[in-house]
Amino acid sequence: MLNHFAEMTGSVEVLGKGLMLGLGMIGPGLGVGLIGSSFMNAVGRNPESSKFLGQILVFVAIVELMALLVFASLFIIK
């Protein structure tokens, strides 16, 4: 099957890149969604805790690092 794919498109790296991008973005997407949902739950219980928005963005940046690593390895794989 991979031979057939290589005949059609000329190289098999495209398959690897597509799979890596699609499967790799599942994790960070779920992670940021979980952070957002827990922040909204906390603000709903206690509206004064919206002053922690700065801290929440720090955690979002730590998770976003994984997503950016996936996107950057698109350019590293030839």
């Binding site: 700065g54 940046a61 976003e64 690092l65 996107f71 950057a72 350019f75």
Partner: protein, 274 residues
Amino acid sequence: MLNSLINIFSASEAGPTVHIAPGELFEIHGYAITNSIVFSWVCGLVIIAILAGVARRMTIRPKGGITQVVEIGSDFITGLLENSLGDRDKALKYSPYFVSIFFFIAITNIMGLLPGVGEAFTLNETPVFRAFTADLNGTLAAAVISMIMIQSFAIRESGFIKHLRHYFAGKLWNPLTYLIGFYELFGELIRVGSLALRLFLNVAIGEVIISVFSYLGKFFAPLTAFPFVFLEIGVALLQAYIFVMLSVTYLSLAIKHGHDDDHELEKTAEIMKI
């Protein structure tokens, strides 16, 4: 006529120009000077001019203009330090370094979005100016210097032996202590790498996004890339804040002593005169 219209509105065969590695401009004594280094000199001069000018005009009563912006920024970082370290004097002692690296990274990121930076001026087919943080060498240098400063602050605060005991905590005849100690030291190196990679990837991927969208909207390139410039300004400020926030967290983790609770109890007992 329809053909020429289609040629204007559709993208050409060649892809968008993407530079990840910096291009070399000239050499001094065998060291290659890249365009990121030249841009960092320009940014350094701009930042020294701005900050020295503001420091001269600082008064007790608040004034408007750039003075107020710099004061807001430095108050913000000093408040962050005070929350993490717990002590106003310590925060004032360590704040010059963190405030200056916050302004350096924020202003360098934003200056990387100016019109002259990038493909506009080229010298032997390499761009003359390029953002300092869009280059892995630059952010790695910033992260390594931050880690060296944090370690030297911690050693100055608690002494060399106590700082090492912070990592190799536990009984000295237990071999597990040394294993955990080396693992923690390796963790410090991982922190340097993650700081550098986070800043570099955010800025470089932003540039790639802007160049892809400029390439897609061939004739309307300014219109299609316009919203992403605002995204990039937001990302620039946020990433500078996160870099400094994580450095401050690492510093407070390295300085923290185990017996802080006893000090709190003693202070409270002093105040209540028990």
